[in-house]
Structure formats: C-alpha cells, structure tokens
Amino acid sequence: MDELILDVKNVTYSLNDVTLLNNISFSLKRGDNLLVFGPESSGIGNLFDLIVRTDTGYEGDVIFQGESLKKLDYFGQLMHKKEIGYVHGDYGLISNMTVEQNISLPLEYHSKMSAADIKKHVGEIIYDLNLDHCKKLRPIDLTRSEMLKTTFARSIVMDPDLLYLEYAFEDQCPLNVKTMMNILIERSKLPDKSLIIITFYPWNFIDISDYFIMFFNGRIVFSGGKEDFLNSDNPYLLQYKNKSIEGPMVIL
C-alpha cells in the first residue's frame, strides 16, 4: 500500500522568534511505522504541535490523509484530532472518571454505537490489556503501568489509522507494560495502521519501526530504515547511540 498517510513538506515552525523546526520534510506511508528521536529541544516535541494539535503558524504544509491541515476550520480540526490516537507519558486521564469511563469517553462523544455496544467493545480492550481488576478505579488509585495502559486503551478505542506515541514508555517497567507492547507489535504489522513514536530511547522500538528520523536543532540530521539505523556511521547517530557529549551535537 503506497498511499501516504502523512506528508510533511518543507515545514519551518517558529515560536517567539525561536526556530523550532527548520525546513523539515518527511512522509509516512499507510501501514508504515516511524520512529522520531533526538535530544531535548531538538524539535521532536514540536511535531506534535503540527500533526496532532494542528497549529497553523508555520511555513510549508502538513498533509494528513490527503488533506492540508492548514486549511481545516475549527470543526475540521476537531474531526482530524479524532482520527489520531494519542498517547503521552503524562497520561492526561480524566481524574473524576473511572478507567472504564475514561476509555469509553471518545466513543460516547463521537460514535453512534449503543451504550451496550460501547460497554462490550471497551470490555474487550480492558480484557486484552489486563485492566479488568481496576476498571472501576479512578486514575488516582492506579499504578503507572495501569495509567499508561488506560491511556493507550483510550487512544485505540476509536481504531484510528494513526497512533502517535510521545515519550509514552519513558518511565515504565518493561514487564508491567508487556501486554500493551504486544498489542502495539501486532498493530504495527497491520497494513492499514501506522505508528509515530517520539522517544529518547529509539533502541527500545527497533522491532516495530520501519523508518527512523533523528532531529537536532530543529533539523533532520539522520533518516533511514532499520538497517541504516543499525549500521550507519552518521556522526550524529553515533554520538546519540554512544550517549556521548562529544561529537557534532553540542549538548548543554
């Protein structure tokens, strides 16, 4: 399947006279999975402003599923956000709702499904993620992995074509989030579903990523496939992999 799900064209994005992204271009085919990494303030966090939050104050264009995000009106932006599943390491769970209610929220707001169908569908996701024991609990009573799994369940409950994971696993025990990783691995193999993973730890996601992009100072300093990521002698990539402060990147 060669259809592009996302096409970022010559984007320059500035905020308060600081250039955060400098002439960035990349694209993502439907079914492919992209991993974006780089040090702090490299611009990887600002992709969220463009792709998910639909800020429009940038030069260039961002095309999602054939539609320019700059041209979306207020309601178009809301509908666009519905199409992307978003998971952040800070969770953003609604504190006065239970796990079950948090996961049901997008369906209750957007879908025409009956209450019984929503309950059944959400129940299946809860079962798959081993959240049955805590489905009536509120976020305050959950462990870190349960909160992340609930956030993840909420992001996939509408079955979005693009899942955007931002620093999602950074502070998690790999054992506790194993069920979630398994679902993510299965999802990464689907031909019509795509992933964008933003992380400081690219080596944790080598198996599920097709393309790798590294940012530094708002520019792309490395891009390539799995083999390139593993074998390239790109000095930026080597410095990052070696966790060294000596190299082309000046790290403060």
Partner: protein, 262 residues
Amino acid sequence: MINKLAIYIGSKALSIKAGIRDFVRYTKSIIYSLRSLRYLSFRAIYNIIINQTKFTGVDALIIVMIIALLLGGTVIIQALTSLPKFGVEGFLGNILVIIIARELGPLATALIVIARSGSAIATEISVQKWSREILSMELMGIDTKLYIIFPRIIASIISITSLIIIFDIVAFIGGYLISQTVVYIPMDVFGQTLIDSFTFKDIVAALIKSLIFGITIPLICCYYGLKPSSKFEIPIYVSKAVIRTLFVSIIVNIIVSVLFYL
C-alpha cells in the same frame, strides 16, 4: 505625583478593557462552539449535567434552607419592630415578597452557589488544565468549550431556578413562624396576603435573574478556571473567579430590579 496617578489609572483602565475584550472573545467562542452540538451525543454530557446539578442544587439544599429560614425570620423581626402592631398582618406578605422574593432570594441563592459551586468549578477546571486533562480531551476531538462549559450552564440554570423557589418558600415559612411569636396571624390569612402581594412581574423577574445567574456564574468561573498556566496561579484565578462573579451577580441583580420595578 499627578502623572503617576494618571499612569496608574490609565494602565488599570487599559487592563480592564483588555480583560473585557478577552472575556467577550471567550464568550463568542463558546457561542461558536454551539455549532458542534450536532457532533455531540447527549449521553456524553448527561452524567456531567446530573453530577453538577446534584452538587450545585441538591447538595446545597440544606444550607440554602437554613439561610432562607434565618433571613425570612430576620426580615420579619425588623418589620415587627418598626411597623405598628395594629394591622401588621396586612403588610407582612408585602414585605416578604418585596424583600425576599424580589431581592434577597435570588441574590442570596446566587451568593451561596458562587461560594460553593463557583469556586469548585474554577478549581476543578484549573486543576484539569494543569494536569493536561483538558488538552487530552481536545486531542480526542472533543470540543472542550462545549463539553466542559455547556453542561455546567444547563445544570446551573436548573439548580439556581429550583433553589430560588425553595429559598423563597422556606423564607416565607421562617417569616411566618417568627411573626407568630409577636402577633397571631392565621395561616390562611398569611398565605392569602402572600398570594395577593405576588404579581406576574415578580415571577418573571425572578426567572430572568435565575436564568442570568445560571449562565454567568459557570461562564465566569470556567473562564478563570481555564486561565492558569501554572500550578501556583490556580488559587489566584480561583479567587478572581469568586470575587468577579459576586460583583457581576450584584450588578445583574440591580439591573434586573431597575428594569422591572423602577
């Protein structure tokens, strides 16, 4: 000295103007958001309306009834000590309608709602904003202005209207009970004087006040709840929400009274 004073007054005036403009922009954006009602299924906001009505209306019932009973009694104590004893039963209904139903009922109810629910709304929303809950709702494609503010306005209108009616009834009962300690007035006579004193204008004015309070209290409190950009700003904006809603409610009460009774 005069220059400094002029600069101070000028900068204050400019900041008030900017604040009003910002609030108008916020209100317009909510009105604009009403267009996304077509994307919203009622079940998504049903629970919020129920919870908010319970908190603002049902849970406030006891305190509203106690205050109404005390205020009704106080009004009658003042009336009985100031008015001549002979023929006082003919005035009591009038006094209660004029003071309680027209003025004190709506205003006291609004003040109780602001103190209990207004501060709670502002705090809840600012904490939700700080903990990225509102952002996460936006990222689900939820129109947060509609989802957060609209159900609170509906719940607030229902609660305040009901509370004002209950406040008035309880205050009348309080007034009647206190009056019995000084002068005997048969229940039916008291009831009849109350009914005779009520006009259609009084009912419309009370309903308009409850409608305006029901809209302005959650609107202003949500506005300030959405303002804080960091944790330490939360108490500052919650305090602003309460004080400014109080101020606006008193102004609204005066304007409606002037329009109806002057």
